[in-house]
Structures are given as C-alpha cells and as structure tokens.
C-alpha cells in the first residue's frame, strides 16, 4: 500500500539525479575548458563544486531522516544505503572535475592555451558515459548495464597510462614547459578517477541486486 511519506523516497531519487547531473556538468565544463582553452568554462566548473557538496549533505540528511522516522524495510532500506554511497561517489567525481578545472586554469594562465591534449577527449567521453550509466543502472536496477561498466573501466585505465607515457617522454625531450605536462598528467589521472567512482557505484548496484 502506498504511504503518504513514500514521496520522500521519490524526492531522494530526484536529488540523486540532480547531483549526478551537476557532477556531469562540472566534468563536461572542466574538460571542455581544457580542450578548447576556455577559461570561462573552467570558472563555471569550479563554481559548481559548492552546489554538489550541498546536495550531498542534503541527501545524507534526508536519508538519515527517512531511516529514523519512517522505519523502512527491504528494498527501501537498500535504496537509501546505496543512495548515501552513490551521492558520495558522485560528490568525489565532482571534486575531480573541480581539480581538472583548477589545473586547466593554471595552464591557461601560464601558457595561454593547452598545447598537448593527448587522449583527454576520448578518455573523458568514456568516463562520463560510465558515470551516466552508473546512475542509470542504479535508478533502474539494471544489472547488465552495471556489469558493462566494470569492463569499460579498463579502457580508461589504458588511455591514462598512454597519456602518462606520452607526456613523460615529451618532458624528457625538453621540448615543452614541464609544469603543464605534469598538470595534464594529473588531469588525466582525475578523469581516470571519475571512471573509478562510476565503477564503485556500479559495484554497489551489483551488490544491491545480487548480494555479491
């Protein structure tokens, strides 16, 4: 039977969709700022971080309140526990977007534009698609989609390693300003971490659905 407080679970889901959208938006802006040497997008990515942090706190509070006041059982409890973990993973992905934007800003301030973009574009596309799918598989309890995310993480890792090799050998040749290459290595690492958070979330969903 439907209870008058069940809409609070719906609100919780909406908040999760919102925080995921904001984290994706922050990531997209940060990476576009890097790829197009666009300082304005970089700034917008940095600003989004506070909104994401606030939403995570809201989700935690709403979850604790629901557990305390509504005595949920079964799938409602699972939903809430995964929601808490999911919002944390998403918030961390948002932190990485923030970090990408900050480093891009440093490169742009120093060099005026990004010179060596390595595989950042391809990598970020993969990572953001993983993040979107991680949220979708959680909301729709889609086990197959969750499992596909685990596989896709390997490709992101591979691209990150290639980026590292390319940027490091570049530095050895002494042809570029090393600071920017180091920053790009860290940006690549941040994207790799965004994919990791998506993978964590997918793991949670698999656990939620199968108990393993």
């Amino acid at each position: 039977m439907k209870r008058y407080f069940h809409h609070e679970l719906q609100d919780l889901r909406s908040k999760l969709i919102l925080i995921a959208e904001k984290a994706h938006e922050a990531g997209r802006l940060a990476v576009e700022g890097f790829l197009n040497s666009d300082l304005e997008k970089t700034e917008r990515a940095i600003k989004l971080d506070d909104e994401i942090d606030d939403l995570e706190i809201e989700i935690d509070r709403a979850s604790v309140r629901y557990i305390t006041l509504r005595s949920p059982v079964s799938s409602d409890v699972r939903l809430i526990f995964v929601a808490i973990k999911a919002s944390h993973d998403i918030e961390r992905a948002g932190d990485e977007a923030h970090s990408i934007a900050k480093k891009t800003k440093r490169i742009l301030t120093r060099d005026g534009k990004v010179v060596n973009k390595v595989h950042i574009e391809a990598m970020s596309k993969l990572a953001f698609a993983m993040l979107d799918d991680a949220i979708t598989c959680f909301l729709e309890e889609d086990l197959e989609l969750a499992e596909s995310i685990m596989e896709r993480d390997k490709e992101v890792d591979r691209l990150n390693k290639e980026n590292f090799k390319a940027l490091a050998s570049d530095m050895c040749e002494g042809s570029v300003e090393p600071s920017s290459n180091i920053e790009t290595i860290l940006i690549s690492k941040s994207i790799e971490r965004i994919a990791d958070h998506a993978k964590n979330l997918a793991e949670e969903v698999i656990y939620l659905l199968t108990g393993n």
């Binding site: 039977m1 209870r3 008058y4 407080f5 604790v64 309140r65 305390t68 006041l69 509504r70 005595s71």
Partner: protein, 266 residues
C-alpha cells in the same frame, strides 16, 4: 493565579495554540499522577504522547475532555487547561458540549451493536437531527472522512460488529467525526490492529490533520515518528521533553528521552 512558568512549546508554527496547559497538577486520591505540566498544542497538527506505561499519558489525554470527571477519586490539584482560550474546568462549562468539541477514540474499538449507518447517525439523532437526507449526507461524509466509504457503502445496514478490527476502529473515528469536533483524542488507536490496518489508520490520521487537531497516545515509537508533527515524552507524571518530532527522534535534548526512544530505558 499562580505564577505561570514558561510553557514548553515548539518553534516554527506561529499559530496560537488550541490547547494551553499551565502548571497542571492532577491526582487520583492521595497519589499524584501529573506534575506541573506546561504545554501548548497547536491547531491542525498531530501531537504524540509517548512514555513508559503508567507515566500518565492516558490520564493527561482524558483531562482534555474531562473524561476523568467519571472517576470519583480524580482531582485537579492546580493549574488550568484552556481550549480555544476557554478554561474547560470553569464551573459553567457544559461538559457534553465540551466532549462534542473534543472527540475521543479508544484503544479498543467499541462500536455499538447496531448497523454501520446507525453507529454514525446515533450522535446526530441525540442532537435532534431527524431529517433522513441530512443523516445520509453526514454518514457518507464521515465514512469518506474515515477512508471507509468504499469498503462499506454497500452494507451500511449490516451490523458494525461484523466488520474487521481495523474497519471497526475507523468506524469509531467516523463516529467521532459525526459531531464535528475540532480536536480528536486517540488513546493507542492501533494497538489491537495488524500492520495493514495500522497503516490505514495512520494514513487517515495524516489526512484528518488538514481539518482537525489530533493528540495521539502510542506505545509504538515508529508510529509516533511517522504520524506526528510534535512529540511529548512523559516520565513518572512529568513532561520531560516536547519538541518537533524530527528533533525528538533524531536529536533529543534530554538523556532520558534518548534512553527511552532508543530502548535503553531502565
């Protein structure tokens, strides 16, 4: 009048209280059951009373419509209770009129051994309402109000005693609504009901608070958390803490409240 200490009230809702309790002391013979209670109950809210057995919840609830008048040794030792600004223990208060204003639903559903229809029409007939169409309208309105209409509309003339426990309890609520009270007192209304019937009564309480002020005594802490806006914790005849339900269950100020709601009491 005695110096009034500040009533324990709660923030947010700035409506004037519909029930005001000041320095209220109550005893059964020589044994005091309630000690210096100060409290404001807000209109169109659900207020829950919780606390261990014997702490005085039912006693206090019965003071709001003077049901304790029926007990010989019951005595008010001091203080006052005002409802809508009127001291209900004034000499010239018409108690029958007061009980119309402040309805009550008990732990055990107690329908009359009459038809479903007559259970609700009864109170109105006593008031002198005779017109069939008026009675029909009120019966339907109250049964709808108690979320019971769809279940019983085809068997209004069957005995109320043939209904399930949960239906009987909702019938008693419908009966209480028939005389158009402003306040509904409920003393453990779900303690004899199964989880589904309980959920239905809780849903009903949630609906009713749009039009009524509700005070509910419950031993079920989860129920208090689910249905009420404010919760009062009583212990040994004293009001220990009265706060927004969120605060009582998520962050009580008093260690005794915390111990009680977390099951670490005694």
């Amino acid at each position: 009048m005695a110096q009034t200490s500040t009533p324990i009230t709660t923030s947010e809702n700035s409506q004037p209280p519909i029930i005001e309790i000041r320095n209220f002391d109550f005893a059964y013979g020589d044994s005091q059951a309630l000690f210096d209670i100060n409290m404001d109950i807000k209109e169109k809210e659900v207020t829950a009373f919780i606390g261990p057995s014997g702490c005085g919840k039912s006693t206090f609830l019965r003071c709001f419509n003077r049901m304790n008048d029926l007990i010989d040794i019951a005595r008010i030792k001091g203080g006052e209770i005002k409802i809508s600004g009127v001291n209900i223990y004034d000499k010239d208060i018409d108690v029958i009129e007061l009980r119309k204003h402040v309805g009550m639903v008990f732990q055990k559903s107690n329908p009359f051994p009459k038809s479903i229809y007559d259970n609700i029409a009864y109170g109105l007939r006593i008031q002198g309402v005779k017109k069939k169409s008026t009675l029909d309208d009120v019966v339907e309105e109250c049964l709808r109000g108690a979320a019971l209409w769809d279940e019983v509309k085809d068997r209004l003339n069957e005995s109320a005693l043939g209904m399930s426990g949960g239906q009987q309890q909702r019938l008693c609520i419908a009966r209480a609504l028939a005389v158009r009270p402003k306040i509904l007192l409920m003393d453990e209304p779900c303690s004899a009901l199964d989880p589904i019937a309980t959920a239905k009564v809780e849903e009903l309480i949630h609906e009713l608070k749009k039009d009524y002020t509700i005070v509910i005594v419950t031993h079920n802490m989860q129920q208090a958390a689910r249905v009420s806006d404010r919760t009062a914790f009583f212990y040994l005849g004293k009001l220990i803490e009265f706060e927004n339900t969120d605060d009582i269950f998520m962050n009580p100020k008093n260690p005794q409240t915390e111990a009680y709601i977390s099951g670490r009491f005694g």
